[in-house]
Amino acid sequence: MAHYILKRLLSLVITLLVATIIIFLIIEVVPGDPAAYMMGLSGSSEAADALRIELGLDKGALERYFSWVGGMLSGDFGISYTYRVPVSQLIGERTLVSVPLTVYALILSTLIAVPVGVISASRRGSIVDTSLMGMAQVGVAIPNFWFAILMVLVFSTSLGWFSAVGFPGWDAGFWPCIKALTIPAVSLALPQAAILARVMRSSVLEVMQEDYIRTARAKGLSRRQALIRHGLRNAMIPVLTILGLQFSFLLAGGIIIESIFSLPGLGRLVFQSIAQRDLIVVKSIVTLLVLAVVLITFLVDLIYVLVDPRLREEGRG
């Protein structure tokens, strides 16, 4: 067990290291002058030179890399070129929007997908199954921005239950924030729920064919009881993998939804920074997103161990 965690931690650190090297190479070392790029076409060469010194581009690549990584380790991500505030502060504020939004969306998608998948599987081939899976198909196909706009039209414009755009900030209290995040979270969650429900359904169907379900039935459990007591935990294993992937995807991929609802999240920050050629911010956010993805993968690996006792063994395998 300890061995397993240690091995996972090591691979986590190595992945991060490789990621920082790649990011650094692409943004700073690959031919082309970052300072000139950031100044844009209209910038004078004197201004570019000044920026080059500000960015430390006059120093060697190795030295720059270590000072960048060293800075990040001590929490110093540099100063944003466009916003003129520390990047760490910028990212910190945005994370407080993006992470709750992602977690909210994932909780919703799991709450929808698991029951839908189980019901579909246990009534395989029935009208219930066909219509649920038909809906899931539609859910996968609908672009989430279109669905988001539809939701705004219904729940904000017509019914007036939610405000259409914006985020009050956590100072305004917990519930107002949750309320503001609800429609965006639902829009993010539905396509994910549709995918997840399909995975859950096929996973349950597969598990129900297993011999231990038959053993459970022979003990006197009904189909339903056997599914709930013996099938679910086993069926969750592939679902967990998908959930982990979806978390990373939602965290970084919320740009469109964040833009529609004017939410100050990470996705929008990346988008704006790219548009404003603020390489300092781009570099830091990409690194942080890599960190998030790697951490989530690590977390999922740990949950596997909790779910499946066969992974608790020391040694090979």
Partner: protein, 534 residues
């Protein structure tokens, strides 16, 4: 009335008739064995009794259990019958237990279903008792053990513990030992017989092998194509067999080919010298899978390599095939040192155990059989290849028209024939048969063994026959090697080893092998001290 009475049971799935007017009965404390090939409907009969049937099944007839017609019960009432009156043990112990729950949880659940009123401590006590009764001592196998820590035989014991923990009146065991080693098989059979005697249960035992059940059955039912062709008490059953099919099964169960007592010396086609291989477990421990093994196989000679799972025979096989590295020793094929070189691979080919898993399902037979040609530097052209494939298919009893079929269109036995054709096509000196008949029914097994014997005389080929089952090896090999814990403990001319085994392990293996001509377990005194742990 009897404990179980099946009356005119017919059954069809999606319109296909599976069972036709099956009649049989079981008394309290009686062991009734149903024997037949796969597809004979024997498993379906037992599934119908406990009513765990595939979708689309239609049944007619009556099933009486304890004077109640359970075929008229609702699904909900059947759950109660399964919980209280019928216990079931399945064929595949490796997958019959939930991998994410402890064995204790799974036994305790069964007890709680059958007797919901019991307190926590009492349920625990009853679970410990059930596991103890099946030979899983609570010290070595505490309730919080997970199934993956147990061997196949031990897992089957847990499944039996689950079944008997509910104090059923009827126990159904569907091929309970087919997936196990011979020694584990003998122990499980003895255990079942003991439990039936102690609890006065009825036991419905299903098997494809007459030899396995002959020892413990009180009454034998032979099934073929969904019908009972013959049934009668064990006493005198084999002396008065009436149906042709029963006679065939009986012949297959104690099959004999001529045996040689003297083996001529020929040039070695395969030589193993001092081969050792270990695996690292964790950081310091090592598992010595193969330990200083040496033997030689001459041209046209058939050698058996026998041992239980975990004895190292599979590792040794993989080393010989060049699929695995080894630390010490050498392998010589046709006199040349073999280290996985491609040019030497043509001299050795293999047939694996699983006739379903060893073909790419998307390739046609023609391509599958011609596959070993890829290993040759000078493969023949397409026409020659095709001609050769047809020739090989005919040698193994298939026809030229099979070349354009896919593997799923064949039965298990036919697929094993295709595998043999594939192994033959490059005309190797030696074919390695890795449990090649273990997954087959007895009658099919016999046919394959006969085919192999015939091919030896046609091609002058040598076999290395790897198996856990001594009976299979007995009939086809000249010499036999017995392996235990990575070491060859006995080696000799097959007939001599069988008549006069020297090593205690060989003796134990021989005793465990089911043999229809001698009945061991009918002697009840011997039975009681025969329960040892596996």
């Amino acid at each position: 009335m009897s404990l179980l009475e099946i009356q005119d049971l017919s059954l069809s799935i999606h319109g296909t008739t599976i069972l036709e007017k099956v009649n049989l009965s079981i008394e309290k404390g009686q062991v009734v064995a149903i024997v037949g090939e796969s597809g004979s409907g024997k498993s379906m009969t037992s599934s119908a009794v406990i009513r765990l049937l595939p979708e689309g099944t239609v049944t007619s007839g009556a099933i009486w259990l304890n004077d109640e017609n359970i075929s008229e019960k609702s699904e909900k009432e059947m759950c109660a019958v399964r919980a209280n009156e019928i216990g079931m043990v399945f064929q595949e112990p490796m997958t019959a237990l939930n991998p994410v729950e402890t064995i204790g949880a799974q036994v305790m659940e069964a007890i709680r279903i059958s007797e919901p009123g019991l307190g926590r401590a009492e349920v625990r006590e009853r679970a410990e008792l059930a596991l103890h009764r099946v030979g899983l001592d609570n010290q070595r196998f505490p309730l919080n053990t997970y199934p993956h820590k147990l061997s196949g035989g031990q897992r089957q014991r847990v499944v039996i513990a689950i079944a008997i923990s509910q104090n059923p009146a009827l126990l159904i065991a569907d091929e309970p030992t087919t997936a196990l080693d011979v020694t584990a098989q003998a122990k499980i059979m003895t255990l079942l017989k003991k439990l039936v005697d102690q609890d006065k249960m009825g036991l419905l035992l299903i098997s494809h092998d007459l030899a396995v059940v002959a020892d413990i059955a009180d009454h034998i039912v032979i099934m073929k194509d969904g019908q009972v062709v013959e049934q009668g008490p064990r006493e005198g059953f084999f002396e008065n067999m009436k149906h042709e099919y029963t006679k065939m099964l009986f012949a297959a169960a104690h099959h004999k080919l001529q045996q040689k007592f003297v083996v001529e010396e020929t040039d070695p086609v395969l030589e193993i010298r001092g081969l050792s291989k270990d695996y690292k477990i964790g950081r310091k421990e090592k598992l010595q899978a193969v330990n200083d093994v040496s033997f030689t196989i001459g041209r046209g000679e058939n050698i058996g390599l026998v041992g239980e799972s975990g004895c190292g025979k599979s590792t040794l096989t993989r080393c010989i095939l060049g699929l695995e590295d080894f630390q010490k020793g050498e392998i010589l094929i046709a006199g040349q040192k073999f280290n996985g070189e491609r040019r030497l691979r043509r001299h050795i080919n293999v047939v694996f155990q699983d006739p379903y898993g060893s073909f790419n399902p998307r390739h046609k037979v023609g391509r599958l059989v011609a596959e070993p040609y890829y290993a040759l530097d000078d493969p023949p052209n397409e026409d020659e290849k095709k001609q050769k494939v047809v020739e090989m298919l005919e040698h193994v009893g298939l026809s030229a028209s099979d070349i354009d079929k896919y593997p799923h269109e064949f039965s298990g036995g036919q697929r094993q024939r295709i595998a043999i054709a594939r192994a033959l096509i490059t005309e190797p000196d030696i074919i390695l048969l890795d449990e090649a008949t273990s997954a087959l029914d007895v009658l099919i097994r016999d046919q394959i063994l006969e085919l192999l014997a015939r091919l030896t005389s046609v091609f002058g080929i040598s076999y290395l026959f790897v198996s856990h089952d001594l009976t299979t090896v007995k009939n086809i090999t000249d010499r036999v090697l017995v392996m235990k814990d990575g070491v060859i403990v006995e080696e000799g001319i097959t007939a001599e080893v069988y008549q006069n085994p020297r090593h205690p392990y060989t003796k134990a293996l021989l005793e465990a092998s089911p043999d229809i001509t001698k009945s061991k377990i009918n002697n009840k005194e011997q039975l009681n001290d025969n329960i040892f742990q596996h």
